[in-house]
Each structure stands twice: as structure tokens, then as C-alpha cells.
Symmetry: C2
Subunit: 283 residues, 2 copies
């Protein structure tokens, strides 16, 4: 059992929160999973930008400055750097705060709550990056809801169920499809396919999460390497026809896939270049 190194709730070091919190009652909140490495919270600006977009979409009033979010994160960074120099994950949860009455209704009197947890984390070994990982196709189909799509919100039961489909430690993640059978993402990662000089990734406008590392690849990394980027729906067959496949998330960065459901993939040099490129960014 791994325990967090520390937890702060609304800036106070404590490990508990009220049972009336709407994050618990309804999953009414958002989270960010931020990597701390060599004393730095990686891609912090992108995490904060996505958080704010999510809060806006859920209409959770939150003034990051007044709320002391910067101090929260700096406290977490300091602890992570000192206590887990090899690497740590700072998980930030922001909920709408306590229920002001029973029921879904938002009264407007709620006050958003921040929960910051620091977890020790061992970065993936270089040999895993070089060899690539094996993934499977998940059976669970992601439900579609444009109102929630893309957000890193707290309603993650689908992904919990999807993650329960396999126990084999040799499988790194499962690729999940939507109701049409199009591939959307892994349970904890976004997915990209390299086809010639084009990088393809599915849209996250009906389901899925707009990962920070996905944004890094789309906005910065691909262009730096002269790749064309295309956000487009992708069948399983189209995915299996790609030259290379890789996964992304904040923790793993870019991670090549060597095998999808017994189909083997080459790790093209462009993927290795992209991986190294992202590791250098914001370092």
C-alpha cells in the first residue's frame, strides 16, 4: 500500500475533508496530476490553464489567486523535492465545496475546496521507454457527453471499471473506444498514431480527457519535428494500420507502444525524437 507523503486541504496540512463535500457526493470537481521532477512542477502553466477551463465549464467560482493555489502548489513542490527527489506526483483536486443543502442544486453559496496530495513516484525506466509497452483493447465503451468531454473531472467510474478488466502487469494500459467503436484514449493516457509524417490523435469532444501532454504534443512538439498533426476519429483498424503508436500523459510523457492486442509495432525514429523533445521541454 502506497500512501501520500502529505495532504493539504484548503492549505492546511490534514488528511480529511467533510463528508458533505460535493466532490464525494457527486464527483462535482476536477483534478490535475502534476509531475514534480528535479525540483520543478512540470508543465504547471498548462495544468493551471486546463484546471481553469474546467472550472469555467462546470461553473465553479474559483479565484486561484485569492484561493492561495500558488502557495498550495509551492508547498507541495518543496515537499516533493525534499522527500521524493527521484520524482513525485502532485495531485490537485478542486471541488465545488460543501453541499449547502441536500440534492444536486447549486445554491451559489458553495465555496470551492482544494485538496493537494503528494505521492512518491518512480519514473519509468529508460529500458521501458526504449522497448515500448504492450496495451490491449478494452471492452468497456466510453459514454459520450459533450458537456463533460475533455474535462479532467471527478466522475471516473468508467475508467475504474475499464482498469478492472485486466490484472496482467505486462499490460500497461487499455485502449478504449466510444459507442461507435472509434478509439478514444487509454484508461490513463491519450493515444497518438504516426502514419508517415502525420501524427493522428482522436478528438475528445464527446468523451475522453484533453490531456496536458496531448496538448504539449499538439501545440509544440510535433511542429518542432516537422510533423503534421491531425485530430480525427480513428477506428481500431486505422489504429492498427499505423506505423507507430504512442501513449501520452503527464507522468509518462511520450511512451512508445510496441504491441496492441498482439499486433506488433515498430518504434519509428520520429517517436523517439518526440519523446526526447518532450523530456527536454520545461525541464
Amino acid at each position: 500500500m502506497t500512501q501520500p507523503l502529505a495532504t493539504w486541504v484548503d492549505g492546511e496540512q490534514r488528511a480529511s475533508l467533510p463528508a458533505t463535500d460535493r466532490g464525494l457526493q457527486y464527483g462535482d470537481g476536477l483534478f490535475e496530476t502534476i509531475v514534480c521532477r528535479t525540483g520543478k512542477l512540470r508543465f504547471l502553466a498548462l495544468h493551471r490553464e486546463r484546471l481553469q477551463q474546467g472550472l469555467d465549464r462546470l461553473r465553479i467560482p474559483f479565484d486561484a489567486h485569492a484561493a492561495g493555489l500558488t502557495a498550495d502548489l509551492e508547498r507541495a513542490r518543496q515537499l516533493a523535492s525534499a522527500a521524493a527527489p527521484a520524482g513525485a506526483i502532485v495531485k490537485l483536486v478542486v471541488t465545488r465545496g460543501d453541499s449547502q443543502a441536500r440534492g444536486y442544486h447549486v445554491t451559489g453559496q458553495e465555496s470551492a475546496r482544494r485538496i493537494v496530495t503528494v505521492w512518491p513516484d518512480t519514473p519509468l525506466p529508460d529500458s521501458t521507454r526504449t522497448a515500448g509497452v504492450a496495451v490491449r483493447f478494452g471492452q468497456l465503451r466510453l459514454g459520450e457527453n459533450p458537456a463533460l468531454a475533455g474535462l479532467k473531472h471527478l466522475n471516473r467510474l468508467e475508467l475504474v471499471l475499464a482498469r478492472m478488466e485486466w490484472q496482467d502487469a505486462g499490460i500497461f494500459d487499455a485502449l478504449l473506444a466510444d459507442g461507435n467503436g472509434d478509439v478514444v484514449s487509454g484508461t490513463m493516457s491519450n493515444v497518438f498514431a504516426l502514419q508517415g509524417q502525420t501524427l493522428l490523435t482522436p478528438p475528445v469532444d464527446r468523451c475522453g480527457i484533453a490531456g496536458v501532454m496531448r496538448a504539449v504534443v499538439l501545440r509544440e512538439a510535433a511542429a518542432a519535428l516537422g510533423l503534421t498533426v491531425s485530430v480525427a476519429r480513428m477506428s481500431r483498424a486505422a489504429l492498427l494500420a499505423a506505423d507507430s503508436i504512442f501513449l501520452t500523459n503527464a507522468r509518462i510523457g511520450i511512451l512508445p507502444v510496441r504491441e496492441v492486442a498482439q499486433h506488433r509495432f515498430a518504434i519509428m525514429p520520429a517517436v523517439v525524437d518526440l519523446m526526447r523533445q518532450v523530456e527536454r521541454l520545461d525541464a
Copy 2:
């Protein structure tokens, strides 16, 4: 601001729980909303049956007997009877328990957590029942996922957003449709349409919640009044063509609708009979 009269976490009277609880982190759990009236937890057997079905579907190991759930509920019943004789709601949340590591993965070492909260509740006035309520059509479309459909799980962000669509206190609930435009349920209720001697309600196999009061009507009440029951998909147009419409949930029982989005409905005698019938059941 309404506060709960009391909260117990795993049988102990306290109002907080660990931030590592998977109910908060992922919405990994279920809930029941049980009415306490005249010293009795109404339809308790049905609530317990549905909870167990949900736990089984989410594969949350939970031995209700060993866990002391009966003692939890009895404690809540006693407090509710004494402190809120006019009526109370006992909200029972069961989560998968604390994360044993960071991430969605279920290790099998989790231990389910019970959170019981007692809220004072004023039953609906008889005049509201007689006059019926006004409802609107919601804009938000419910996402579809058979793996989660029917369950009263903690991923309720869709319903929070749907409830944010209106502020008018004269609107009791909003009827929500799925991606095909078929009516599924209210934000906090199931919906029935009476057409001649047939009672229709939408299935909850792709989205929606299998309400306890919905089950009461389907299993017992309708037959007692000689009505035929049909669980079938229902367009907005089909709903608007019904003779009468009513909502159900544990708190409201059966509640006639007088108006849907400006369309007026009669409250047929069979609906009043059904409402009285359900009020007498399990009393």
C-alpha cells in the same frame, strides 16, 4: 444553508473522511436516499437490494452484515425519528474505500466505507400533490453507458449540470433525454406516462437510474390498480401525447405533473389512486 442532523462514517459519529477515499477521487461508490417517516425507513428492503446489486456490478466487496449496515441504519432511523418527526432523509453512501495506491487500479486491498447522513425533510404539501408540478425539458443530453446505467453511483456531474439549467422555483424538475432525443428521466426522478390503461416508463439500460419508487410502481402498484406496464423508449412527442404524466422518487413518492414545457396535462384518477396506493405501502 441546511446541515445534516448527524453523520456517521463507518459507524462512528463524525463528519469527515480521508481525502484518499475513492468516492472522492473517482466517484467510486454508490448511494441510497431513504425516506424516514413515522419512525420507519420506507422501502428499506428495496434500497438494500438495489445497493447490493450496485456493489456487485461495481465489484465492491461488501458484507452488509459484517459491515454493520443494519446497525448504521437503525441508528439513523432512531435519530431521524426523534429529531425530525415531520420527516427525514437518510442518505447512505458506500464507497470502495481508500486508495491503496495512486491511480484507478483496484488492488483488492480496499475496504468499503459507509457514510450515513441524516437530513431533516419537509414532506411535499398535499396541495402540491393535488395540483401537480411543472417540469421543463432539460438541454443536457445524458451520456450512455450500459456498464453504469441504472446504478445510483456517485458520478453525478451530469445531473449537477442539468440542475444548473434553471433557477425558477416554480419548476420542480427537468426531463432529460439521451443522445437520440428519447426521454429518460428527471434530474432527480423517474418519469411515467399514463396512456389509457397503460403505464409507460423509459428503460434505464443505457443511462438513467433504476429508482426504488420506479420499482415499486412497476412491481406492485400498477398491477394492484389493473394497469398494464410497459418499459419502452419514449420520444418527447410521445410523452407530450400522454393522458397524464408523473414523477417518482423515494422522497416524493408519486407526484403528478400538471405541465411540461407549457403543455398542460390532466391528472387522471388512476394517477391519484396510484399515489395514494404507494403512500399506504410499507407505511
